[in-house]
Symmetry: C2
Subunit: 551 residues, 2 copies
């Protein structure tokens, strides 16, 4: 009998991404999701960001399983990093596991135990009896969870919207959520991503008309980009191609991989002969061709970027092409996307995107759906999850409007531990959390200090001054050498650099012998003088690094 | 008698910003606008961007005047840099000149001759007879120009929307544009910024209701940010404050400066006693206070940022505050703005912005207004100006839909010279144009190569290796010294850095004496070996810079 369940997020409560939430009793611990985040623009040079899993590593012996809601990167992208350090089974639906499996293979973790779950089929992990509940989202086969414990039922929605006409015909399970609601739910954790958006998010079906119009009116080829994981969208494209008599060529590594997994597992319906390969493109007239690839965020190495810039092996833009960007711009990527659109336009292509047509709908619940969720589940306690503070606060306000008591709403941060008992809920502890930067081969070895250096270097560059000094006499053995990058164009500023060299030379020659052989002090003095000199001359403040070579 | 007029843009045809267009005959040259652009995110460390004015400098003797449409930075921000090199009078309306004057003073250019113009009052500059036409935009006192020449009339709209209920009661001059249209217009240059937006842009008046609701319902203070130049918006805030019984405190250098110029010149109506200073804030209860400042783009040094982060001298956020961001996010600034909103929310403030309320309308004409302009002016030739390629292309399509012949539409680039004659128009030349980076004190001394270095440094940092070698024997005089920033956290990677040092030492010791004293060759060898070493160990490629000190 577990007296208390403790819930803490390792991520997802101050960001869009690194979604990962711990549920534990004294005896057992499970983790729902282990997502990554793409670096924000001030995380210079970082490839991806994952949660700090220290708390899990420190409690390895009671860590039983990873349970996954759906296969988006912000929910599953950190799994390989987690499993490199702990070995637990993964519970997920068929497609979710299929997509995770491909990812684990790349990391040599294919021996991980995977347990397939199905909506409305309960399973037990230690103190937790879990029932997956079918939801709808911008990926197929997503679920939320009802977690039945000795202190009551907890519902975790995962990412969801209430799509009443989903492309695969498998609707959001309103009944199951309501059933739990009428039996009594202790705590609801619900997706806050679109808590600031009024109304009801459109069904994935709504973009059908948008696509049909574009496909029907296109003069030549259609080139459509979306997220590789958006199997629904790919299905819509295939359906629309069928209706308009076109063939579909799926290209790009991740797009092909996801499509083939979805096909294999039966999540994608492709009427005979509709799919063609890149090699077969030449066989069809342009107005019979739809090419689907990635690059909706303007990523430089993506299919769309390479095609736009003429760097793709086989596909070049023609003036008769129609490009469809069927995805939302993630904040921060707007300019990169705009650049690609300009490049495509210059080459004559017509470009349709969220800004000028109906080619995308969100995958997340808007305010009316969030209200429905709360009203169906009628929880005693509520935690808005998934989202930046602003969105979670908005979600908390919605809950208050619906009559949840303010003191029962926990707009908690990553690491806050909410202890749930039969008759109470309160924040009792704070565990270690954080963002771990993955940069090249390094996981966590790029610290904030390195990022701060990169930010400095990115705006003002650096100046290295090498001074060789005799360790016995303190005398200068050669002229100081200055090397600078990212500050100014050296060839144009020979005079300034010469002045700087002489300034350092004089500084050393005028110092007494004690200072000259005290490398800490002399460095400090050079740094100060050089900073002053450069600010006066250029009004800039590069990183100044003196090196003293004592010979 | 001028047989031909040549028109070329120095900027504004491949960007939002650096708007600047040359009009010249054999005898005379004028420039309409001289704007700046804020750096795009890959222009690391650049403060502002201005057009390359070389063509003007090379034709100084015939350059007669700068004629200005309105006082937004993207139309006037480069004026001081231009006037540091050429001395011509500036023609502009009263408020426009007032705002420019303040800017020129900062650069010691207050002796510039300024000639005040008025809508519908013609003036002549050499071969050009110019009539300003009143337009409406998100700044007061903007005009377009009808330029009457021997080859016909050219109309340059400037930035505009057709606001039928402007805040200052001075409407867009539909009649004048139509009058020119009925007389016959050779060429129209029209604003393409919103060419991708359907419908009709809302009147500035439309946000009145949005502001009134927020002001009426606020529990405590209102903190409103907008662009400092948006005098209309400030007027609306003052009007709404009056209606809701609040006082207005304008704060921040640029906001105060623009407001006081507008006040002085009679463009801002402030009923007695409505304006208060920061010093007087303490006298009023919170729900009687509106503070207006800058920072709508999340700029780190702006009023709003400093207030949000608790770095403002006098104003701190209270949980009862209401923050209104009454401006559009310029693409690329979305994340910075979102961060500020999160910070404000965490401190308890309610935040209203474009995404969740009606607190902003665009200042640029949407598709229906662009159609009206073309239909009123009925030009023979058309150049879509102001905007990235995608927008200008869209604008060209609109013109085609309205019956302008495709061959009469010139979707030209910066520098393309369109020669207009009585019976023809064609692109005859290409003049030098470009983007000049202003960085600290330097104008144009940060070249692309420096920016490329900054980009490299920003993601992977650098490694400097100093090797001291005897110039006579070629022998190493001390162990190589490695200094690295932005690559890894040095304290954590002592071992790796030691290995790298030994690798370089061995490399030199194993080289023959000729190589050792050939500093070019030995540098090349070290660079190559170090790149390989670091990529293998870290999968990263920092900038590697060997320095050989020969003693």
């Amino acid at each position: 009998m577990a007296d208390a369940v403790r819930i803490a997020a390792l991520g997802g409560l101050d960001e869009i991404g690194i979604n990962s939430t711990i549920f534990e009793t004294d005896k057992d611990m499970i983790l729902i999701d282990a997502g990554l985040m793409f670096p924000e623009e001030d995380m210079l040079g970082v490839d991806i960001v994952i949660p700090d899993f220290s708390y899990i590593y420190e409690n390895k012996d009671k860590f039983r399983a990873l349970v996954v809601t759906h296969a988006h990167e912000d929910h599953v992208g950190a799994i390989p990093y987690l499993l490199q350090n702990v070995n637990v089974p993964i519970y997920g639906t068929k497609l979710t596991l299929g997509l995770i499996r491909a990812k684990l293979k790349e990391f040599g973790l294919e021996n991980t135990k995977m347990i397939e779950i199905e909506p409305s089929k309960k399973f037990r992990i230690g103190d937790f009896e879990i029932e997956p509940i079918r939801t709808t989202h911008s990926i197929v086969d997503g679920v939320g969870f009802a977690i039945n414990t000795d202190v009551g039922t907890i519902i975790h929605t995962g990412d969801f919207k209430i799509d009443q006409t989903p492309v695969d015909g498998k609707p959001f399970d309103l009944l199951k959520f309501s059933e739990y609601g009428s039996r009594g739910v202790k705590l609801l954790l619900s997706d806050s991503t679109n808590a600031g958006v009024k109304g009801f998010t459109g069904s994935e079906m709504e973009i059908k008309k948008g696509l049909f119009d574009i496909f029907s009116n296109a003069k030549g080829r259609i080139l459509l980009v979306t997220f590789a994981s958006n199997i629904h969208r790919l299905q819509q494209v295939i359906n629309t191609a069928l209706e308009t008599g076109k063939k579909v060529c799926v290209t790009g590594k991740s797009m092909l991989q996801n499509a083939s997994i979805a096909l294999e597992l039966g999540y994608l319906k492709t009427p005979n002969g509709i799919l063609i390969t890149e090699d077969e493109l030449y066989k069809y007239p342009d107005n019979k061709i739809v090419i689907v690839t990635t690059g909706s965020q303007g990523e430089p190495m993506s299919g769309l970027s390479r095609i736009a810039l003429g760097e793709h092996k086989r596909i070049q833009i023609k003036p008769t092409d129609t490009v469809v960007i069927s995805a939302k711009a993630i904040p921060g990527n707007e300019r990169a996307i705009l650049k690609i659109i300009n490049t495509l336009s210059r080459k004559g292509a017509d470009v349709f995107y969220e800004g000028n047509s109906n080619v995308h709908v969100s995958g997340h619940a808007s305010q009316e759906e969030l209200k429905l969720m709360i009203n169906m589940v009628r929880p005693e306690y509520f935690i808005p999850i998934h989202g930046e503070y602003m969105m979670r606060r908005q979600h908390a306000k919605i809950a208050m409007d619906l009559g949840i008591k303010p003191e029962n709403i926990f707009t908690i941060d990553n690491g806050d531990v909410l202890e749930l008992r039969k008759d109470s809920a309160k924040v009792v502890d704070k565990i270690r959390t954080g963002r771990v930067f993955v940069d090249g081969k390094g996981v966590g070895d790029v610290e904030d200090i390195v990022i701060r250096d990169r930010i400095k270097l990115s705006t003002d560059g650096f100046v290295v001054i090498v001074v060789t000094i005799s360790s016995t006499t303190g005398e200068l053995l050669s002229n100081p050498e200055i090397i600078t990058k990212g500050l100014l164009y050296e060839e144009k500023h020979q005079k300034l650099l010469h002045e700087a060299t002489m300034m350092v030379k004089n500084l050393i020659n005028q110092s007494n012998i004690d200072l000259r052989t005290d490398s800490y002090e002399i460095k400090k003095k050079i740094r100060k003088a050089m900073n002053k000199f450069l600010f006066k001359k250029l009004m800039r403040s590069p990183m100044v690094l003196p090196i003293i070579m004592e010979i």
